[in-house]
Amino acid sequence: MKKIQFLNGFVLLLIILYVINFLGNAYLTWFSDFLTQFEHLYENFIFGYYTQFVGLVFSIITFIGLLSVKSGLKEIIKQGFFNSISAGKFIIGGKLFLISGLLNFIFNLILLFRSEEMLFVGEIGQSFLLMIIGFSLYIISDILQNGNLLKQENELTI
């Protein structure tokens, strides 16, 4: 259970980093003229100035997925490994990671082919990693559901 508590703390740290990232980006975009000097860079991208906000949407999807995983881990700490609530939360988290990773992958591919001056090969690797994590969460949720069934049967064996 200590490993789960460590993972829970790590996910919490990631959530805090995401919030700081959102707040920092919001400040730089709307309350400061720091980014105006880089606006000409976006001219080469497919969506122009709005390219940066597409990435933000994927970040929000991943962030909601992280919240779901955090909630699932909290239930594991409360009720033990095999419970249906954690399985449900991990399915939601897994789906969101898969969607975010897939959309990010497609978006980076478009950027790769349409924006000739910039290459995002490294980011495509990150998208695959996110998809693998999402798929792993799906498998873990299946294990938790099966374990929950076995646990219930064992408890009802007198």
């Binding site: 219930q152 049967e153 009802l156 064996t157 007198i158």
Partner: protein
């Protein structure tokens, strides 16, 4: 489920309380209640043996098959 647990009938015949039986066979009253109500998924041979020993009866006196 077509398997009916007639533990209540045997307890009445032997004039024994559920709490006493649970104590003798070494299971909790909550688990005995699950067994009596038919919610149990399975019964261990060791539990069945202890019940038969405590109530001086046969497994057939406790378990009955009634077709749906």
């Amino acid at each position: 489920m077509p398997i009916v647990v007639n533990l209540d009938v045997m307890l009445t015949k032997r004039n024994m309380k559920s709490k006493d039986l649970a104590e003798v066979i070494g299971i909790t009253t909550a688990n005995l209640s699950i067994l009596k109500s038919g919610k149990a998924k399975a019964v261990r041979f060791s539990t069945l043996e202890a019940i038969c020993d405590a109530l001086n009866c046969q497994p057939a006196d406790i378990l009955e098959y009634i077709k749906d």
